[in-house]
Chain length 148, copies 2
């Protein structure tokens, strides 16, 4: 069984792939609660010109169709935005493991109120990655979260 | 300027395309507040084996990248689920026009609480379409909303 840090390492690898491609450096992966990898992905706004593919939606898509998600864990480098929090709530994903919520605070408190188990790891590497990205690409970042 | 009924007619066309393809018959379209069509789409779970493409996310994707959405209206044949409601909230879409909320009641009350203008048209054609689909394809429907 994978621990939270090793699951986050996979999401962070995805974020770094996104960075290397010139994209928004956020990564995610969907696992079973036993740590089996179901799907992994990263934000694809720049790469595919696709505003609908946040890291969590990409991991969810790559996991393929499933009858339910109550035995799954979404692992993401950054606190999930409302769009991705809505995904977690609608599909009944039981737990979210978050790299950091320092550079952006999304909907994870709302998810906790609705029974989702939230684990915030305060990972320095994730925080540094996003802080550098926001400082160097503010327009792209604000586009990605619909703020201008 | 298009009125609400003519915008809904486009979303309903999308839902019927989805039905004809053997998919989940929900359609959506994103317009400017002046009624200019930005993107239209329908649920693609069956067609693309893609659980992330609900009608609203498909319309959003097909509208392409935009710096902000405060001048846009999401029109959908069915009350938006939490995933699609989260999309509307995160990206600041200012208004949602809904065909029906009889067969499924999603997150539109929550959106209204957060300042989104909600118009519910109680369209009989949309209701009949979903009622027939749920009766004939219950497993596919519950998969689409993560319930089993």
């Amino acid at each position: 069984m994978r621990d939270d840090e090793s699951m986050l390492a996979i999401a962070r690898e995805e974020a770094l792939l996104g960075k290397a491609e010139g994209g928004v450096p956020i990564g995610a992966a969907l696992f079973t609660v036993d740590g089996q990898l179901l799907g992994r992905g990263h934000n694809r706004r720049v790469q595919d010109d696709d505003p609908s593919m946040h890291a969590e939606t990409a991991a969810f898509r790559n996991a393929g169709r499933r009858p339910h998600y109550r035995d799954t864990v979404m692992v993401t480098t950054l606190s999930p935005c409302w769009y991705c929090s809505g995904l977690v709530r609608q599909f009944g994903i039981s737990r979210v493991v978050i790299g950091e919520a320092t550079t952006f605070h999304g909907g994870h408190d709302w998810l906790a109120e609705h029974g989702v188990t939230i684990t915030l790891l305060n990972d320095e590497a994730c925080t540094t990655l996003m802080r550098d990205f926001i400082a160097t690409h503010p327009t792209l970042w604000f586009e990605d979260i619909g703020k201008d």
